[in-house]
Amino acid sequence: MAINKDSNGYTFGFSIVLVIVVGVVLSSLAIGLKPRIKANEAVKKKMDILAAIGVESSRKNGEKLYAEYVTDSYVISAEGEVVENLPEEKTAIKLDIQNQFRDKKIAKQDRLYPVFEAELDGNKVFVLPVVGKGLWGPIWGYLALADDYQTIVGASFDHKGETPGLGAEIKQSFFEKQFKNEKISKGGEFVEIQVVQNGTGTEDQKVDGITGGTITSKGVEEMVNRTMKVYQKYFSKK
């Protein structure tokens, strides 16, 4: 008996089989490649931390340079206290702060904040990760703080899928460089960094935003200030 290919039954049947086949193939591939992709992401994280303190690295030497420069890492609470005895997946390098930022079930005061201590030319530098929202998706980055606990000495940002040429420019060095020498506190009090549109970015506490990338630029401002406020609590106790 010939099958009527235009019948509803056949159309539904075909679609169901297709979806199941595709689903099985894609999910098994995703599971199979997950360890590799995770390992790549872990190296990338270390490279980003190194980039924030101005050390260039590649996927090949990322691990080695990280071990060389980063001397200590720990996690602080939203109150600015060092948290001890954390499980493996919540240690500074393993902690998924993007997931923590996204997960509505984790209350703001329960979020954890990693600190990486590095040594650069004999000076101690603190590398602090930040996460926030861009226009299309997550943005994140690392700020490096000098051992006066207030001056930013470097920054590196990245994004998931901001518009190339506009919001995506936050990862370019001309934008990142502007954060150098800005301060997160004055006289022990937290101060905000503003991302401005009127070209006054050279003034203290101000950074020029990106033309056509206002929402992403504002996202950077929000994420830097929100996170630095927490870290400032920790550093003010030092």
């Binding site: 159309t11 979806v19 894609l26 995703a30 490649l33 899928g161 190339p164 040429g165």
Partner: protein, 233 residues
Amino acid sequence: MSDNAENVKAPKESLFSKKNKKLITEPLGDNNPITIQVLGICSALAITVQVEQAFWMSVSVIFVMIFGNLIISLLRNLIPSRVRIIVQLVVVASLVIIVNELLQAFVPDVSEKLSVFVGLIITNCIIMGRFEAFAMSNKPFPSILDAIGNALGYAWILIVVALAREVFGSGKIWGFEIFGSNIPDEETGQMTGLYELGYMNNNMMILPPMALIVVGIIIWVQRSKNKELVEEH
């Protein structure tokens, strides 16, 4: 199938008959998907700032194109005609996800550079166009040839445009400086190579409009060489 149907079947073609060869050569030249059919322009503009990106984009498209055409061709007698576009879309989308996962796992740097553009392969009209126009009504082998032809036709334009833009826009090929360095040396303040003599990169080349103009130049050259391609209006 009855014996009668067997008898009227056309004589078997050789694997590389003239007709099959044409499937590969035509899209490279006189029926190029970008310059003649003007399909896939979006990625031709977006991904041609550097040769490396264009190369990996081409490789990804070739992969998606060949397997897509093959799968659609194998399923062509099974696909219900009312949902055929959705089926085609599912096939492209799945292949693109596979490419994306493979890039992330094995060449993460490339994956970062291509970022959102890998996803955009789904919207590349060349692929859906070939599925609908060729693979739905042809056998697997010619479909593969057609896929190779069209994907290569797309690839060479992409790489030529990227070459022009990278050489004149950044003075590099595949990231290697070919005219010397235009960043002044920290100690002497001197630039090297051509830049020392006053040569400057054309920043306009990096911007999207120049990609369109470069594609335009290729179209112009192609049509002035072969007058048959010029449309009469």
